[in-house]
Symmetry: C2
Subunit: 620 residues, 2 copies
């Protein structure tokens, strides 16, 4: 029940329990993920324990389990592809270390433990702390697999409500204990990594048990959720009553609402539903100085600076997001996929640009480059390499009659949502625009495959690491006119750097994943065979850093939706200007003068050691 | 030319001259309004000197000049309407005082004057200072007409570029001189009123001469303007090359881009083009600590808190907005008007709600209540009272066959933009939805009239004041389910307060002007005959204050688009929470520690006298 307890009248934070809306009672939601995450999720990799890419005795690759459409199917072409691209040697395996049995002793603050004891569920067990010490950044997963344990949280706490968070934050602030908010653990910016030099007790504040739907307001089509709810739970509950929020970042099975807010997440269907900042109607964040919230549920205000936009993107450094009012929509009646092939990547970019300019974007439109196109083909369970991509056309028709070069063509995948009439109209219009740029419709099956693979792709790295391949994605946003050039130049700079460092076998590919009036989001995938490389993670990070510098030079941003975290903090000052840095520091100083929320994200911390680079035991 | 002068290398503000984009040269724009505003605009009222409501010798009302479609036409029904509603006595006139000849001596800071002398155009002439001492809030215009001059700016400066603003701000900061940015002078929140107790020199920084288009970027459909450009200049220049920004607040003939940003403006066509925060790609604000700007033109970023959203709504208290990159769109090929009549206001609200829920809003959709409907009819130049509203139907058909009550029915006006097919589809859909709520199409003419009147309505108050009527509008935003109730309750509370205070003849009416997924904007018009009231402005402000309290009680916001200014600052703290106030104060302290930008907006200033209430010489 979301009742206002107000148990501590003298407590400046204890004013109201929930964003008030007198609509029914709150709904408990049973999460698909248990509180003891490791029972269902990998402790040292991505996703479900029962779902992974694996290799048979005769070196065929398959995906295990039946959670995903490609589950339990041999992927006959994948082996050939990885061998060709990465020169992968199936006989040489890097086996991950087992789950540790010994953990660093926790640094405990007795007064704080006393404050929360009996009130807040907590744990100081090593495994509980370890699995909340990291997100999914390459160095984090690599460390886990290599058995390297650095500074990890000392205590895990599981608040069950906004009021619990208030208690924890007040106790931490008065006892000088630090807090790192932990949502779904899918960060790829190092944002939940502990500051390595932190001598105070570090509390991982796990929001997972704070995941109710506090109210649903049908007349206004809004709903208030506690920030710990994860995407799949939120959408499942809403779907059961014919509704959707429509926010689908690639991590949405596991990532949390609070995490979406804290990092400014973007979903693949943002064209219809908006990004997280468009979906949020109201926010509540617990700070050491009290609760920051706008006291009005009206849709749009002119009331000074918008502090919701300070909460959005704050990356856990200013407080804990506890409750979020989101817009909800009716489930669309029709969902249809589509795809287009283009002779060259640049044609595809031009097509996407016009689709955006004419404001007729379907729910999702993505453009994958030739390398990713081939990669997608390599993940097909059966049939010939090209049978499905041309669907209804002959391979000969595309490559011979139309003159497409199989090593240059690329594919756009499309997702349409709406009613039947709308979808048909959209499809017709998109095909017309595509034709202007040499695009040819390539069927719904390829489109659907593209979106299905979205959720599986994150699993590949765990297999890769097992065969001496490090890999990671990184993204940016860029004005339209610089999009194709940024893609080319970034790939080129990665290739040059690989050559310079003796990285022989690598893949650098990209896709345009989101389109806007004035530009687009570009996602890069980069991985290489590190069998002969001494410091794979350091090397990877160095090359990614070269790529980021190139991206910025080409007019790209520091991040479109992953956030800054610790991984990209060195570029934060130049991105927001000196005055922006001062403004951030003043907000931090005001809301958290003791640096309790010590995540160390956004601003580069010169006093902290370079946390994520280590010298793993190289094979050489 | 927008060249980087960097004349003062040690100057922390002097880094870059313009938001960089290597696209052609900047374009000088000749504004429709001269620098000496009073040559074209009323010094003590709204709009153009040659345009006003006036009364003939036989007490017929007309609108002068030919700038607007109702110009130079007798409005035969208007007289009857004002007599009926306001008990207006045409024989009793309150003649405004003439332009003053004596002004307060300016408080000058010699060092500051020396700093800017020869570099920045300035004036200390009384009239220049007076006409930049106010916006269009009732008390401001009333004071001017009554010959009451309070604290006015001491110096007017006209920077011609970002670099000029940097010079002025740095000089002011080092000399402890205060600045009030002045754009189009259309504020209705008291935001440009001088703090009455300010002893330091006050500089009105008039942005009007800083109005170039610095660049146009067609591939990305963005353009960079200097912040002083006013709406009509901006749209005229873009229209000439087939483009539009599409931002049309009711003040757009006179209000400036910088003002739109500083107040979070909203335009009537926001459904297609977005509000100002949706149109802005990049912003530049000069503060005493340097220039705040995001260093990237990418359309969307995940880069910590969004400081553009601190600039938006800052109301001149943190710095001067100098350059703005906006999205531009192609001019629509078709523009069509429409209207719907509903038997009751609530039916209309329900219709607008469904239109928003189905995300099929036309460019503009507005719902006016019965009083405003009648008011609109009263402004018709000719023909019978109802001839045009029913357009193609008989009055008998609506009132008899359909049973509409002429004293309860209300009207929605519609504006469609797009290509022919889109517009036709939208019209069909809107009519279908309207039918569900008892709505009947009432033709394009009534729709067009509604939008035409938009720009004329602001002129009425000047005539009203001449006949002992004070009037003003105020607005709010509210969740959908509370919309109709808020309208009813606010009107009721105004009526009750009028009764209590002996205000006998008044009008309180409203319209829904903007629709969103989760709620709407409501605009109230309130005016009364003050012939027998001692302190008309004080009385007006008291009643508006009662109305605002009622609005907040009914779930409405402090403001949808007018902003907070000084008029609504008493409700700011409760709107943004204590932590919000702290956050604002910390930003202010960081960016402007000497309180140079001393506008005194947003936060109630307990040390300042209640600036806008005065005791005018009452007629009684």
């Amino acid at each position: 029940m979301a009742t206002a307890t107000n148990s501590d009248a003298s407590n400046k934070n204890a004013a109201t329990s929930t964003i008030s809306r007198n609509i029914g009672t709150s709904k408990e939601i049973k999460s698909a993920i248990p509180r003891e995450r490791e029972k269902m999720l990998k402790w040292n990799g991505w996703g479900y324990n029962d779902s992974k890419f694996a290799v048979t005795n005769d070196f065929m690759i398959y995906f295990s389990g039946d959670r995903y459409p490609i589950g339990n199917l041999i992927l006959p072409y994948f082996k050939q592809w990885v061998q060709q691209i990465f020169n992968l040697d199936f006989t040489s395996r890097r086996v991950p270390k087992p789950m540790p049995t010994v953990y660093p002793d926790p640094i405990l603050c007795d007064a704080f433990m006393n404050d929360i004891s009996g009130q807040i569920l907590y744990s100081i067990k090593g495994i509980d702390r370890l699995i909340r010490s990291h997100g999914q950044t390459l160095y984090e997963i690599h460390n886990l697999r290599e058995g390297i344990i650095k500074r990890i949280p000392d205590v895990v706490v599981w608040p069950k409500s906004h009021d619990d968070v208030v208690k924890i934050v007040n106790a931490a602030n008065s006892r000088n204990v630090t807090i790192i908010p932990f949502g779904g653990g899918t960060s790829v910016s190092g944002s939940v990594t502990c500051p390595q030099n932190e001598k105070r007790s570090i509390v991982a504040l796990d929001t997972s048990q704070m995941n109710r739907m506090l109210w649903l307001d049908r007349p206004n089509m809004t709903a208030c959720f506690e920030a710990g709810i994860i995407g799949q739970d939120l959408e499942r509950e809403l779907k059961a009553i014919g509704l959707t929020v429509g926010h689908e970042p690639d991590s949405y099975e596991f990532s949390s609402l609070g995490g979406w807010v804290a990092t400014r997440a973007s979903g693949m269907k943002k064209n219809v539903y908006g990004n997280i900042e468009d979906l949020v109607v109201q926010l509540k964040m617990v700070t050491t100085k009290g609760v920051l919230e706008r006291k009005c549920l009206a849709p749009r205000l002119s009331c000074g600076p918008d502090f919701n936009q300070i909460i959005l993107g704050s990356e856990g450094t200013l407080g804990v997001v506890t409750e979020v009012v989101l817009k909800v929509s009716k489930m669309p009646t029709v969902r249809a996929y589509g795809s287009l092939i283009f002779p060259y990547f640049d044609c595809g970019v031009k097509c996407l640009r016009e689709v955006a300019a004419r404001k007729c974007q379907p729910s999702s439109i993505r453009l994958i480059d030739n390398d990713q196109f081939k990669f997608g083909q390599a993940l097909k369970p059966k049939a010939t390499f090209f049978s499905s991509v041309i669907e209804g056309m002959k391979k000969a028709y595309i490559t011979k009659l139309k003159g497409f070069d199989l090593n240059k063509m690329c594919v756009a995948t499309l997702l349409f949502e709406g009613d039947d009439k709308d979808v048909k109209r959209q499809q017709k219009l998109i095909n017309e625009i595509a034709e202007k740029y040499g695009g040819i419709p390539a069927g719904a099956v390829n489109g659907e495959r593209g979106y299905v693979l979205t959720f599986v792709i994150a699993y590949i790295r765990d297999l890769a690491l097992e065969f001496y391949i490090v890999a990671e994605s990184f993204e940016t946003s860029v004005p339209w006119d610089k999009c194709a050039q940024l893609c080319r130049n970034t790939k080129l700079s990665v290739s040059k750097e690989c050559e310079k460092l003796g990285v022989k076998y690598y893949l650098i590919s990209c896709r345009v994943t989101q389109t806007y009036d004035a530009g687009a989001c570009v996602y890069f995938y980069f991985g290489f065979n590190y069998y002969e490389i001494k410091d794979p993670v350091e090397t990877y990070e160095h090359i990614e850093s070269v790529a980021r510098t190139e991206i910025l030079l080409n007019g790209g941003s520091i991040s479109h939706h992953h956030g800054v975290g610790k991984l990209r903090s060195r570029w934060y000052p130049q991105s927001v200007s000196d005055v922006g840095v001062k403004l951030y520091k003043s907000a931090k100083q005001e809301l958290d003068p003791k640096n309790i929320f010590a995540a160390g994200n956004l601003l580069p911390d010169s006093t902290d050691e370079h946390i994520h680079v280590h010298k793993p035991q190289s094979k050489l």
